[in-house]
Structure formats: structure tokens, C-alpha cells
């Protein structure tokens, strides 16, 4: 049967691990010896009671909210701008998208170099007369999360723009021309015609953006390891720090299960309520 190999691979490496984690999460287990110290839901309680875990969840939420509040309007404005015919427009589209193809790891190292004390970013601040605003961008607890957000934005803004541009291509020019002929000004055309028709694309972008924020890891781990003093920890860095590095595999498994539930519940709710009015599709029709 043609379906079997794919199903086997999928079941083994996607579904089985989460079942294993659900089981291991019930034990106090350092990865060596047998699973004998059954503790029931104790690990789960410890995770949920840990202030550092709650803080990490909060950091993920902050990144997700900032993305929606700042990246979305920025992406839409830039997409509208790039949708016009500019000389060198295709080059510009390519340039905007370039950071997206770099790996998170490379992006992180690139920005570590940019953000070195006295380095490029600091010099830039000095050059425009903001020298007194220079901070230790990655070592100041009150700032580090926002520094990382800027890096994340640099990397992912191009993806949003390209997605929205593709959405804009799907809007018939005639609609906007008709509105313009009827006397609508450019702002009205954008506000009343373009943006509503762009709705499905925007909702998809929001979905991908939030899922991305929830599993943020690579950039944070390489740039700060979640520090200083957990000021930039995320849910996944928490899992790796407290489950993998400290060899608390039972505890780490419980964290994995909790993260799985958080992302899954979010995804289903979003599918059900936000994507619902868009054409019934693979997930909406099936799960919702």
C-alpha cells in the first residue's frame, strides 16, 4: 500500500515521541537506569508552579504580541509600497526576503557581531547623535527581550511581506480601479477594498507568526542562552535548559507535553475561530 511507508515514518517520529514524553513525564528520571520512580503528575505541577517557566511563557507571549502590533502594520505598509511599480522593485523584493533564507543560527551569530559593545550598532547610534542611548543590548535584563525581538523582526519581516504581496496579487485590479473611478481616494481604496480582501492572508500570517513565536529557540539560545538571569528565556529554551542540560528527562518530558498542549490548543482554536470564515480547507473543514 502506497500510504504505509509515509504513515509509518510519520507515526514513528512525530506521534510516537509525544506519547513517549507523556509517559516519561510521569517519572522522576535522569535518563539512566530503569523508570522506577513513578511520581504521577508531580512533574507537571512543578513545571506549572515554577516562576521561571511562567516567565518564559510570558516572554513568548510578549514576542507574539509585539509581532502582531509592530510587524504586521510594518509588513502591510511595505507590501503595499512594494506592490507599486518601483524601478528596481524585483531587486528590492529579493533583498527584503534575503534574511529569511539565512538559518536562525547564522542570523544569531551575525547579530552577535553587529551588537558587540562598541560595534556596528553602537557606532550607528553615536553617528546619529544617540550615543547616550547605547546600552549593553544583550546583557541588560530589561532590554534583552526587545533586542531579540528586533533580530527576529529583521529575519522574518521579509516572509510576511512576500506572503502579503502574493495576497495582493490575488486582488483583481478592476476592483480598485472601479473604486478609484467612483471617486475613492487612495486611502479609501486601501482601507475599504484592499485590506478587507487581504483578510485571509493576514489571518494566515498571524497564525504562522504566533506558532513561530511559541517555538522560538535558535536565535535566543545562541545569543543569550535565555539570560541574563532568565530575562530572555522562552518555553523551548526552558525545556532544553531544565530537561536536557540538567539531565532531568522526566521533568523535560512533562515540559514538552505542556508545550505541545499549548501549541495544539492554540492552533485548533485559531483554526476554529479565526480561519473559519475563510474557505473551508484541510484543517478547518476536518478538525474545526
Amino acid at each position: 500500500m502506497l500510504l504505509t511507508p509515509a504513515l509509518a515514518l510519520f507515526a514513528f517520529f512525530v506521534l510516537l515521541p509525544i506519547c513517549i514524553a507523556a509517559y516519561y513525564g510521569l517519572f522522576n528520571w535522569s535518563g539512566y537506569g530503569t523508570l522506577s520512580d513513578f511520581v504521577g503528575l508531580h512533574n507537571y505541577r512543578l513545571v506549572l508552579d515554577d516562576p521561571v517557566f511562567r516567565e518564559s511563557v510570558l516572554h513568548n507571549v510578549i514576542i507574539a504580541v509585539l509581532s502582531l502590533l509592530l510587524q504586521l502594520p510594518l509588513s502591510i505598509s511595505l507590501a503595499l509600497l512594494l506592490n507599486r511599480r518601483l524601478r528596481g522593485g524585483s531587486l528590492l523584493r529579493m533583498a527584503v526576503f534575503a534574511p529569511y533564507v539565512l538559518s536562525e543560527a547564522t542570523t544569531a551569530v551575525l547579530w552577535l557581531l553587529m551588537l558587540q559593545p562598541g560595534g556596528f550598532v553602537d557606532q550607528l547610534f553615536k553617528a546619529v547623535g544617540l550615543g547616550h542611548e547605547v546600552k549593553l543590548w544583550l546583557a541588560t535584563p530589561s532590554i534583552v527581550l526587545y533586542t531579540l525581538f528586533v533580530v527576529v523582526t529583521w529575519k522574518y519581516i521579509g516572509f510576511g511581506i512576500i506572503l502579503l504581496l502574493a495576497g495582493l496579487q490575488g486582488i483583481p485590479v478592476e476592483l480598485r480601479e472601479a473604486a478609484a473611478i467612483d471617486g475613492a481616494c487612495a486611502w479609501q481604496v486601501t482601507r475599504r477594498i484592499t485590506l478587507p480582501l487581504l483578510g485571509p492572508t493576514i489571518r494566515i500570517w498571524m497564525f504562522l507568526s504566533i506558532i513561530g513565536s511559541l517555538q522560538l529557540f535558535d536565535i535566543v539560545w545562541i545569543m543569550t542562552i535565555g539570560g541574563p538571569a532568565n530575562a530572555s528565556s522562552t518555553m523551548v529554551t526552558y525545556m532544553i535548559e531544565n530537561g536536557f542540560r540538567s539531565l532531568e528527562f522526566g521533568y523535560g518530558s512533562a515540559v514538552a507535553v505542556i508545550l505541545f498542549i499549548i501549541s495544539f490548543v492554540f492552533a485548533l482554536l485559531y483554526q476554529r475561530f479565526a480561519l473559519r470564515r475563510d474557505t473551508a480547507g484541510a484543517l478547518t473543514g476536518a478538525v474545526g
Binding site: 514513528f12 514524553a21 533564507v101 543560527a105 480547507g281
Partner: protein, 296 residues
């Protein structure tokens, strides 16, 4: 869904995005903003490439200066060390295996799910579709524990197999509507000519699905190529490290040798940027297509 997805996969891409009729004349403001965007995206990348041509002494005395004189020693050193090439080879091997498996098995599954009626067909499809909602990073620790069990730690397949499994959902979701849209008459004709199911699949369906196959291949390849967390957990032997892991490790190991870090980072960006220039239509088309198919 069918038309939406195949349409997007087929024609999106930067080329398709260009050539748009304007509604009103462009304004100088547009060019100003464009220039700023260009600077913000490209200056950091250029900064790293240029930094690789400087010495540590140059970097220390003027962190943002241009190379003076230009030195190629950093690049030369890295290109002649084994570790860079090992990282590159490991990344390539893993990405090829993961892509081959995901697209090979995924196209077979999409074929079955798109062109045959059988019990629980939609259920199986939903099982795969749900995988799309499961972030790979969240699964990393459980996968690590599984790999420990089956002795696949510190083994390239320990990374390639899970990556292939996690690429199956979008592969199947993009391929299924594409294959479904291929007219049934073709299949009838092939059967009349005496072709078996498998012959039809290999000789007719796969060649016709080529654009969609390219798209999912590029997506699977890039996903694997950029992965960091799973390789980080799985590999302990430096010669097995993939490029992202290699870059991060190099950065933390040689933190005193900034010039070398610049060069290593620049070289590690080169394959991705080259690949992007060559395959940008597929990458962009694939991402928009994927978004389109999640939407339905």
C-alpha cells in the same frame, strides 16, 4: 482548495509578483523607504562579508571600518580547515536524505490520498494535516529520547529521519490537491493502454506534478538545511555537526578571534544565499502555496 493551491504553487514567485499595474504614480517617498529597507536588510550581511576581509587588529581599532588593507587570510584559513567542509558535507547529506524521503514517501501517500477511494482516507489525511500544527522545536526533546532508545544518537540519520517525518505534512498537503487536479481521463487512458497503478504513478503522474514536486523539495531542503535544535541535541562528534551547529560552535569556541568568526559566518551564508538566488521562485511560491493550502 484545488485551484487555489495549484495556482499559487504554479505562478507565485518573485517573477510573478512583479509586472503589476500601478494605480497611481510612484512618489519619491517610495524610493526613500525602499532605500532604507535595502540598507537595513543588506548592510548587516555586507558587514559580515567585509569583516571577514579584515584582521583582528583592524577590527579592534575601528569596529566598523572597511578592510584596509584587504586580507584573505581568514577566508583561506577556514576554507582549508576540515571542519568547515565537514559541516557543509553533513548538512548536505542530511538535507538530501530528508528531502528524498519526505518527497518520495510523501508523493506516494499523496497519490493514494488523492486518486483512490478507501476506508478512512480522510482520517489519514487529517492525521498528516495535524502534524502541521505540531512545532518541530517542541518535539525535539521527545525525539531525542526516542533516538536514545533506538541508538540513533550522534548519527546523521537520527536527524534526517525525524526531519523527513516533519516535512511530510506540508509535502502531502501541497501535493494532494495538485495530483487530484490531474484529469481522470489520463488515468483511464493509461489503464486502457495496459499501465499498472505504479506505472501510471511513475510515468504519468510524477512528471505532471513536477512544479509542485520542485516546490515541496525546496521547502523540505531549506527546512533541513537551516535546522539547529535537533542537530544540537543529537550530535556530540564535531565532524557530524551541520553548518548551523558549526557556526554557533565556532562562534563560542573562537570568541577571541573575531575576524575568523566573520569569515566563518560569511562562508556559511554563501550556500543559502546562492541557493536562494537560483531557487527564489520556488521558495517564494512554495511558502505562499503552503499558506494558501493551510487556508484551504
Amino acid at each position: 482548495m484545488t485551484a487555489a493551491v495549484s495556482g499559487r504553487v504554479g505562478q507565485s514567485g518573485l517573477g510573478g509578483l512583479a509586472g503589476r499595474r500601478r494605480i497611481r504614480p510612484t512618489v519619491p517617498l517610495g524610493y526613500l523607504v525602499a532605500l532604507v529597507i535595502l540598507a537595513i536588510t543588506l548592510v548587516p550581511i555586507a558587514f559580515v562579508f567585509l569583516g571577514g576581509f579584515r584582521t583582528n587588529a583592524q577590527i579592534n581599532s575601528a569596529p566598523t571600518g572597511l578592510p584596509h588593507p584587504w586580507v584573505i587570510a581568514n577566508y583561506k584559513t577556514i576554507l582549508t580547515t576540515a571542519s568547515f567542509w565537514q559541516n557543509l558535507a553533513a548538512s548536505a547529506l542530511i538535507a538530501v536524505v530528508a528531502t528524498g524521503l519526505a518527497v518520495g514517501l510523501g508523493s506516494m501517500a499523496a497519490f493514494a490520498l488523492s486518486r483512490y477511494e478507501f476506508r478512512l482516507r480522510e482520517t489519514w489525511f487529517i492525521v498528516f494535516a495535524i502534524g502541521l500544527l505540531f512545532p518541530a522545536n517542541v518535539a525535539s526533546l521527545p525525539i531525542y529520547l526516542l533516538l536514545r532508545h533506538i541508538n540513533l544518537l550522534d548519527n546523521p540519520f537520527g536527524v534526517a529521519l525525524p526531519e523527513a517525518a516533519f516535512s511530510l505534512p506540508f509535502t502531502i498537503i501541497i501535493l494532494r490537491p495538485f495530483m487530484r487536479a490531474i484529469p481522470g481521463e489520463l488515468q483511464d487512458a493509461a489503464v486502457v493502454d495496459g499501465a499498472s497503478r505504479l506505472t501510471f504513478f511513475v510515468r504519468v503522474l510524477l512528471p505532471l506534478s513536477r512544479p509542485a514536486l520542485m516546490t515541496v523539495s525546496v521547502l523540505a531542503f531549506v527546512t533541513s538545511w537551516n535546522a539547529y535544535l535537533l542537530p544540537l541535541l543529537v550530535f556530540t562528534t564535531p565532524s557530524h555537526f551541520t553548518l548551523p551547529l558549526g557556526v554557533a560552535t565556532f562562534q563560542s569556541t573562537y570568541s577571541q578571534n573575531t575576524a575568523a568568526i566573520f569569515a566563518y559566518t560569511a562562508l556559511s551564508m554563501l550556500p543559502a544565499l546562492t541557493f536562494f538566488v537560483l531557487a527564489q521562485r520556488r521558495i517564494v511560491g512554495g511558502l505562499s502555496g503552503l499558506a494558501g493550502s493551510v487556508k484551504g
